[in-house]
């Protein structure tokens, strides 16, 4: 459960609300305050703990540790942007019912003509079960597709770290506040689907249910990540660093890069020459080019052909995350 730090409306001291609670007590002035649940969706934020320099240093350290200092020095830092990624958090109870019907079988002992004992399966009446569902709900889900940012563990972090109410102008001045793409209706559906998954209706031939969220505590939690750009030659290498714990979440720095300009040029020329001479030669030269390609690279995958033609063949795993 997340802890949210507010300002006491009476004395201004920071005071904490636990996710799911309606009321909290100011430790400083002793006043009890309530959080208004019907004035909109609270936007909360986990503040960034590391700045751009720290993020850059975290990446440099990773490169030096895994690729050596010379390798690390071959990449130039080009800049970085702080992003606040939105996550839905839903806290409450999933309440409703589930009905399921399943087939039942029993084993019956029988004897054949020779008097040998055997058992056979006999279908019994279908079993119908109505059950009440009442489960605590603690759900977190990205409010959009953030796979480009790698596997940020923000949903989990919200349960451990202290959040504050988002001051939009201040956050927007520090970074890019990403708009939620996934609506709250979809997030609620996902949360309810999860609560039904564990409701035990395996093997049923029919299933009906109606589950709703009760005592809902809904919030949009923003989590900070640094998106950095590094370059080597004219290639750019994007990096994502968790702006709370400094972990490099996503990057890919290949060990070395070599360009084979001759092979793609020769193959293209060969094909062009064939097709401009006559169709039969075109077909023959294309097949020849394919053969040479396979012989040289050991592959005929479209992605490998594209890589070769665009000059991005890279060797070695290098340093990779995410």
């Amino acid at each position: 459960m997340a802890t949210i730090v507010f300002k006491c409306p009476l004395c201004g001291a920071p005071f904490e609300f636990t996710e799911g609670d309606h009321v909290s007590l100011c430790q400083f002035c002793g006043a009890t305050s309530a959080i208004a649940g019907d004035t909109g969706i609270p936007r909360l934020l986990i503040p960034e703990r590391i700045d751009l320099n720290d993020a850059r240093a975290a990446l440099r350290k990773l490169l030096a540790n895994e690729g050596g200092s010379e390798f690390a020095a071959s990449f130039n830092f080009k800049g970085g942007t702080l992003y606040f990624l939105p996550y839905w958090r839903i806290h409450g109870k999933a309440i409703g019912w589930q009905w399921s019907e399943r087939e039942t079988y029993s084993e019956e002992v029988d004897y054949d003509e020779k008097g040998a004992r055997c058992t056979r399966q006999v279908k019994g009446p279908n079993e119908r079960i109505f059950s009440l569902i009442a489960k605590p709900l603690d759900f977190a889900s990205p409010a959009g597709d953030f796979t480009v940012f790698g596997r940020v563990r923000a949903g989990l972090a919200g349960s451990v770290l202290k959040c504050e109410v988002m001051d939009y102008p201040s956050a927007a001045a520090r970074g890019v506040v990403v708009d939620p793409l996934k609506g709250v209706a979809q997030a609620r559906q996902e949360a309810l689907a999860m609560s039904l998954e564990s409701a035990g209706a395996e093997g049923s031939i029919r299933r009906e249910s109606r589950v709703k969220i009760s005592s809902e505590w809904l919030s949009l939690l923003y989590y900070p990540v640094w998106s950095l750009q590094f370059a080597r030659g004219d290639s750019m290498y994007p990096v994502v660093v968790d702006a709370v714990n400094g972990e490099v979440v996503k990057c890919h720095f290949p060990l070395e890069k070599e360009r084979k300009c001759f092979l793609p040029l020769a193959l293209i020329s060969l094909i062009l020459l064939g097709w401009t001479t006559m169709p039969v030669a075109g077909v023959a030269f294309t097949l020849l080019a394919a053969f040479i390609f396979k012989w040289q690279t050991g592959s005929l995958e479209i992605s490998d052909i594209v890589k070769l033609l665009t000059g991005i063949p890279e060797r070695g795993a290098g340093v990779k995350r995410g």
Partner: protein, 205 residues
């Protein structure tokens, strides 16, 4: 960013301006000084009328009391004479047959299974309470918000209709409950260790 703000409201009695205290999960706040009751509506402290029903017992337990109708595959059910046969009850409603259907949903902290059971027992006993003349008496903390009573109401009504809910999925999928005129009431109970009991209704939780 219209929904960007969070409103924190100090609990100050709207009648006598004294500070009120409350437990973490509480949604209705009673002033310890003057006894009036309050809740948050649209971010403002607003009066919440509470009706105390009369009966035997020293402990006042809060309930959301509401009239209801139900819809299912056989049509609308609006009174006891329509509802009792669905429950498989042999009880005769007598002159109560045309009375509207009434739910009392526990508003105090009680696990959902127990809340459903208690309310179901009250529903099938169709109690009629008198109204106590007392006002602003202290009662147990209200933890169920009025906005959350509908889900529980459907479960309570369903739990009374034992046979149909088990055997007929079409009944279940067509089933719904409509609530009217909900109000916060208290019903007196006696406390016996961990149990609450209501002598007039022969109820125990």
């Amino acid at each position: 960013m219209a929904d960007a703000f969070v409103k924190i409201v100090p609990l100050i009695c709207g009648r006598c301006s004294q500070r009120m205290t409350a437990q973490r999960e509480q949604v209705v706040y009673q002033c310890g000084t003057c006894g009036s009751s309050w809740e948050l509506r649209a971010g403002l402290i607003s009066a919440r009328p509470v009706i105390h029903l009369s009966g035997k017992g020293a402990l006042l337990l809060p309930f959301w009391n509401a009239r209801f109708q139900m819809t299912c595959e056989v049509g609308n059910v609006v009174d006891l004479s329509g509802f009792l046969p669905l429950c498989g009850s042999v009880k005769q409603p007598g002159d109560k047959g045309t009375q509207p259907l009434m739910l009392n949903i526990p508003a105090f902290a009680l696990p959902p299974h127990q809340a459903v059971k208690l309310a179901r027992n009250m529903l099938v006993r169709f109690p009629v309470f008198g109204q106590s003349r007392a006002v602003d008496k202290p009662f147990e903390a209200v933890t169920l918000a009025e906005s959350d009573i509908h889900t529980l109401a459907e479960l309570i009504v369903l739990s009374a209709i034992v046979e149909k809910r088990r055997s007929n999925p079409n009944f279940l999928t067509s089933f719904s409950v409509q609530l009217y005129d909900s109000q916060l009431v208290t019903i007196p109970f006696d406390r016996d260790g961990n149990r609450y009991n209501q002598v007039d209704l022969n109820l125990e939780v």
